[in-house]
Point group: C2
Chain length 251, copies 2
């Protein structure tokens, strides 16, 4: 299904939304990309991937458009999405492979498109993906091994990564991304994946334990080949309170 349907005329030719969905699988930071149904490949012979994104409808607001488009292309729903920037270079849709693809799905493939970008960070391995619309597939990719991307999506991802890393410094992180009981080692892995750097274990623990929403449990790991680590959990109310009050945390 392309947008070449009855509702075509209801799409605004000049404004789109794009979603940068970061995923954590317990080990690495990933990003959700769609494989657009296109026989043509990039100049270097590689397949071209893209962020889930499409034109907005004339009767919906930007936030609704982002949720709808993400759902239509990847099957994801009820994801917290945050707007982080708009991208509107006049030449952002002018690559040959992109134009060929736009001609196959858009009523006005040459129209200038400004895109409003949203991002999110989710648990990658516990969400079901169902590609549909012009997405042939929706797959997680390692953030450090990105394939060829259409349009200016590399620039949009860079910008979202900056925002995510910056936010991780002043808002608590991990509630939706770790199991209910987790070790400080698991929490450190999450920060290391996002910041793409190794952190000093001792320093990390000293700073992170100042977070009063981090609650130590009596329970420890069982059956591990090293000294069993203590489990922690998040106090949900305190966590949300810190989150909404912009708590500052510098690693």
């Amino acid at each position: 299904m392309s947008d070449n349907t009855l509702s075509k005329s209801n799409l605004n030719p000049n404004v789109s939304v794009d979603c940068v969905i970061f995923g954590f699988d317990g080990e690495k930071l990933k990003i959700l990309l769609i494989d657009r149904e296109q026989v043509m490949v990039g100049d270097d012979g590689e397949k071209v991937y893209a962020l889930p994104g499409n034109l907005i409808r004339n009767d919906e607001n930007l936030d609704s458009a982002a949720h709808r488009v993400l759902n239509e292309l990847t099957g994801l729903h009820d994801i917290f999405l945050e707007q982080f920037g708009s991208f509107g270079d006049p030449d952002r849709l002018t690559k040959k492979t992109d134009l060929a693809w736009l001609k196959s799905i858009r009523a006005q493939p040459d129209a200038r498109v400004i895109t409003v970008a949203y991002y999110s960070l989710v648990r990658a391995d516990q969400l079901e993906l169902h590609a549909s619309g012009f997405a042939k597939d929706a797959l997680w990719h390692d953030i450090d091994k990105l394939p060829s991307l259409g349009f200016d999506h590399d620039k949009i991802i860079d910008s979202a990564l900056k925002e995510l890393r910056f936010k991780s410094k002043y808002q608590p992180l991990g509630f939706e991304l770790l199991p209910e009981k987790f070790t400080l080692g698991q929490l450190q892995k999450l920060y290391e994946a996002i910041l793409n750097t190794e952190l000093d274990k001792r320093n990390f623990r000293r700073k992170i334990l100042k977070m009063s929403f981090l609650v130590p449990l009596q329970e420890k790991q069982i059956g591990v080949p090293h000294k069993p680590a203590r489990y922690y959990t998040f106090d949900k109310d305190m966590y949300q309170n810190y989150k909404s009050n912009d708590f500052y945390f510098t690693l």
Copy 2:
């Protein structure tokens, strides 16, 4: 001059930029509004003001559009502008007075317009304003005594204020807004104007003096009817370094 000129066809009917220019005059926080040339007044008989904003040209990027539009309407140039959000509710241009005004200046007055918003904080009393284009006048207004505003500009201003207040907590502030030599009292006034709250003098000084880019001078005030206060200055290099490294400062 309206945009009803030769270059009209070059304007994108669906995308605009709006500029929220905050100004500090040593005492209060202000905002720059234009008086759009319109005989018609709001439903309550009041004149309607607006943020400096207009449609983007099809051949310019968003940042350039913001600088051009701000300059065309208010005469301001070389102002640091930062994008902070896009606004696109389908009903944002549907007030009667707004529609009447749009009909007088736009080729497609009924087109849905998504606006990309920028903000800045400048020294209000040292910049020359020259209204032109469809701006009959460009004037500073007290942030706590805003007149009737067109479109969704009250919502855009609220959002910009939040961004400004948030930023003031993690980036140093004041370099472009205070005289080269200033007292801690003047610096406190700036923070109080932005945060719209009175701050405890002792607490403020204790925290602000941790900023190593704040350099005490030998010189003190002369001819004041109270104990003369010491002058301070900013170390420009250190200030910029802190600014680019997102230094956290909680008042």
